[in-house]
Symmetry: C2
Subunit: 213 residues, 2 copies
């Protein structure tokens, strides 16, 4: 197909496709004349991938490029590739003054995971635990095991399709899946809270004094 057909098939304007070509994010098509190039289904897949990445909330174009270059690296340890690709995802604005993550280290070890201070989620966990501390919310072993018990089986189910994928497919799936199921998880949790609060609370008479009085 020609670039105009690639634009129509992907829903991405030609000017944007030309930007992807110039930036090296999208490979040039097979030249059929000095001014024409032919694009195939692999180009359409690539445009859809770039589109999914550029549409992610908070993912700047520099990080899109970084993730694409990890996906394109033909060699390498798949675990490391997936770690780097997921590490390029937002949030980035979680500051932490030192390279020490004392709370996260204790929690990660108690969960039976490997502690790696260079994996960004370690910093995210430290910051989450500090946020709970500052607000006076608990995170003892009981509470943490509740999150582990819910999330580890979920993570296993999420990763199951990767068994039949090659490294490149697995890295793409890991990046898209990590980022795009996160908002689903948060939305379903908030909806579950509301559902449970509604179904547990007896209907309140608005004229009655509330529980505080």
């Amino acid at each position: 197909m020609q670039i105009s057909e690639l634009a129509a098939a992907s829903g991405v304007p030609i000017t944007t496709l030309k930007f992807y070509l110039r930036e090296g994010m999208l490979q040039r098509g097979r030249s059929t004349s000095p001014t024409r190039a032919e694009y195939g289904p692999e180009h359409l897949d690539r445009v859809r991938l770039i589109n999914a990445l550029t549409n992610m909330r908070g993912l700047p174009i520099a990080k899109v490029r970084e993730i694409l270059s990890i996906i394109d690296a033909p060699q390498g340890d798949p675990v490391e590739a997936m770690g780097s690709a997921i590490g390029a995802l937002p949030p980035y604005d979680i500051a932490h003054e030192s390279a020490d993550y004392p709370h996260a280290e204790a929690v990660i070890k108690s969960l039976g995971f490997t502690f790696d201070p260079n994996f960004p989620a370690t910093r995210h966990l430290e910051s989450a635990l500090e946020g709970l501390d500052h607000a006076g919310l608990e995170w003892n072993e009981n509470i943490l095991s509740r999150y582990r018990d819910a999330l580890v089986p979920l993570a296993e189910a999420e990763l199951a399709p990767m068994k039949s994928m090659d490294t490149q497919e697995a890295v793409i799936y890991a990046v898209l899946g990590t980022a795009l199921y996160e908002p689903l998880i948060l939305a379903i949790r908030r909806l579950a809270h509301r559902h449970l609060i509604e179904s547990q609370t007896p209907t309140v008479d608005p004229e009655a004094p509330n529980a505080r009085e």
Copy 2:
């Protein structure tokens, strides 16, 4: 205690405390002289609450004020109060062209929850489902039940402490808990992914051709 002692106990600078007083977010202390006021433990609790809210990523001061005014409303349906307070939390930048949430409505009904187009998580869910569609990731009934089965028991455990709280305490707990356990959930999920990928993948010889070749 005097305002300087309140600053020391809370770790919040006096200038910030004076800002909270001017903005009506913090109640004035009991006047003991024309230039002095006495603050009690209820003021310290309030400063800690304001602090927890203002430290939340992406929560602007206008929304902090909105949440505080919901917390301070002495009357009202607790379910509605919690819904409004949670509805004031980020993310806000999820645009949706229409007031129709066809995918979210179908999913919410299939999960057995009540569909309410005005609850912000409904819009978040619609946007999450659209994101999955655009990236070609699946969200069929099997996949959704996996999230429900993990998240509903978790939500139940999270809400359990609210049974012994009055409305005001429950609204505070709902707002802080919703916002502050979210980063914990996302961090633990990413750590679980990495842990599972590492433990499932046989060690790769870096000299060997990878799975793609």
